[in-house]
Symmetry: C2
Subunit: 146 residues, 2 copies
């Protein structure tokens, strides 16, 4: 089942309308699922086939999906929010130079806060963010030996 089909079903299941705008946004999410797109990027992709969609609709739809827990927001202090269709637990690796963002599927069993370190918080999630310099940026900077 494609992501579009899945999201259409989930919308229907919750009595939400399936508009053309939403379908194309779902398609754009599927097409760009590998690189954690921003709302603007989704808008740009959707406008290639539906030139009059508004940015507001894109934000509306993305926020709906987040609320429905079918989409995850990833915010790493770059000044804009990225969206992640992968809602499984996973972590991220960010290039400080170009902003490239890669999934890390490794588990870190060790990452757990025992009650005495939790300051009374109820802990609902955690994420690990690695930062560094990607291959392309090492290349551009002439950082590769050999």
């Amino acid at each position: 089942m494609s992501l579009e089909e899945k999201l259409v079903r989930e919308m229907r299941k919750r009595g939400k309308k399936v508009t053309p705008q939403r379908r194309f946004i779902f398609q754009a999410l599927e097409k760009e699922s590998d690189h954690h797109p921003t709302a603007e990027e989704i808008l740009h992709t959707v406008r290639q086939t539906l030139p009059d969609v508004s940015l507001t609709t894109v934000y509306n739809t993305l926020h709906n999906l987040v609320e429905m827990e079918l989409l995850r927001e990833v915010d790493l202090g770059e000044g804009m929010t990225r969206f992640d269709t992968n809602t499984d637990i996973h972590h991220h690796l960010l290039c400080k130079r170009c902003g490239k963002l890669v999934d890390i599927h490794r588990q870190f069993r060790n990452v757990f806060l025992p009650p005495e370190d939790a300051h009374g918080f109820i802990i609902t999630s955690h994420q690990v963010i690695f930062e560094g310099i990607c291959l392309d940026c090492q290349m551009k900077a002439g950082m590769l030996k050999q």
Copy 2:
């Protein structure tokens, strides 16, 4: 040696001027060091004794300190940047309800990316972010048994 003294010394060491504005910003950072203040919070504190400082100066000074690696920016997607005078490696615990941000000084030895998972990146740092609900917010929401 107080934080103010330390920062004044570091400024002098790099040939930077020590202005009254900067001194009061250093004092504000020291005073608020426990709660990861924003630029606006620093501005507010400084204005209690120096009512005419500009927000621009606060941002300038904070960014200088970040560049000098004497201050760390913490951005967790709350829409504004917080500043952290603790530049040692440590992690954070964030309340999703009220934004309270607490330091975690525990080490997670496990958190390391072996080359085969690093996608060719040179990894320069990592951070763990825990999210949850703080005691105060549990209280307000009547979530505490007993």
